[in-house]
Symmetry: C2
Amino acid sequence: MELRQDPTTRLWTLTGAREEEKAEKDGRCPFCRGNEALTPKTISAFYSNRGEWTVRVFPDKSPVFQIEGDLDKKAEGMFDKMKNIGAHEVIVETPGHATSLSMLSENEILDILKMYRERISDLKKDRRFKYVILFKNHGTLAGSTVEHLHSHVVATPVIPARLERELRWAKNHYDMKGRCLFCDIIYQESKQKIRTVFENKDFISFCPFASRFPYEVWILPAIHSHSFEETIQKSTIADSLARILKVIISKIEGITPAYHIVFHISPNESSFRTMRGDIGTLMEDFHWHIEILPRTEGMSRLQREEEFYINAVPPEDAAKRLREM
Amino acid sequence: MELRQDPTTRLWTLTGAREEEKAEKDGRCPFCRGNEALTPKTISAFYSNRGEWTVRVFPDKSPVFQIEGDLDKKAEGMFDKMKNIGAHEVIVETPGHATSLSMLSENEILDILKMYRERISDLKKDRRFKYVILFKNHGTLAGSTVEHLHSHVVATPVIPARLERELRWAKNHYDMKGRCLFCDIIYQESKQKIRTVFENKDFISFCPFASRFPYEVWILPAIHSHSFEETIQKSTIADSLARILKVIISKIEGITPAYHIVFHISPNESSFRTMRGDIGTLMEDFHWHIEILPRTEGMSRLQREEEFYINAVPPEDAAKRLREM
């Protein structure tokens, strides 16, 4: 596989077949404790007092990015390409066969957040990578093939398109106003109170003004921070995040069987420094957050091509229903 | 419904429920000649010598954009919104129950192209609209609910996200090089000959270097032109386009049951002039074209969010197979 850039849109395609994952047919869940032999070797894990793993990370069996090698950036005439160097890991978030964050205790969720932090920090040490994508697919409609609770961590040598848009417009806002765009949004949402869902002392959640999907919810740290890793270093704040995540996911699952959880975090700073000259503005203009995106069955072409999203449920109505659950 | 802009990405969402189309349950095809009563009133049509319609246009029964009213652009605090003013029309492309362009004669396709031209020119007269989206969904997987051959024409008060990217990067290339980006791509593809599929004297087709989907094909006028309407005004060139379209669609249908055809044309110039100051560069830096996008069953989250496309079939292999069909 290689990464190719479309010169007309600057979007990247991973071109070529990925190794197909062999389906396990004997009915055993490959992610349950005791079945470790069905998955690749452990990269990292947390253990209980009894020495059994509680959260476990291993390389994806059918990775879209490969860890070994150089990027080997090349031109083919006017076109640009590079090798699909990166990382693709799976975090199994509980040893038992739980299928949702809402089934876990806040302490168990806290452990998962700590593992997110460890993997992100570790992968960001590699200067070949520009970004670390952290996401969870819940439900078959969201593309999940194993129901046992897990997330994907994907380190990429280019900034993903959506994140790039966010960085660009956040910087634009900061250059114009001298304030963080997301802080301004938080200020308005907490005054208007028509799209807010749930708050605690460290985090706020709301259905965003231009929600792409019905019942879409964002969770943001109330105090400005560009770095997920830094924010949750403080244990009381990590506790708050575990708590709000459990509340919001429970509400979302009362409404839809399929959703994505996507972390929007700051790009790899060591790599970013060379890209934009300095990270001074990044620290002031980017605000990490979590997007929870319910998946609906049909998507029109307009929506699939991201020309326009079409969302039948206004976020004000969605937030009201979520608040009252 | 209203259009709301996400300040963090500048992408637009159509918020609110659209009127649901009532399903016709009596088994009659609403698009066949004789069943006009099942669809809204004709906006425009071409007729045979015997006075029967051959191509017919009417408003979509469940439009995403409404023709009547002012845009009524407003702020809600820091957020931007406007009414969903625009147009949403359906072009029924043949009176009989044909389901594919490949079943029609070149002359019949020529008539359809003329109707595309008429509708685009007509809608561009309305200065409320910034762009006219013209597309066809073929097959249920591509979201088509009526199999009778038809296209959608959607006039929008904002430039769609993908087109905006293309305009931006085409202008960037022109500013750097003084040449059209698409002309440069055509030059390289026709020299390399590894991704070309079929050419005639006026058009070239190829699988683009960073194809998003297996067997994706683009068709471009060989001579630079920013305006679809201008290009096909010349009848020999319109003939050439009808011919290459029939060839390419026949090949694509040998490979996949579901695809989109999307026209990427220049934005509404009367509206564009006020947006970017002048259309001088638009005429030199944009190159209209047609994208044929086969639809595959599963899409990963990375792909759905347009962070990265994942395409298992390299365009060189796809083009070879299509050439040899």
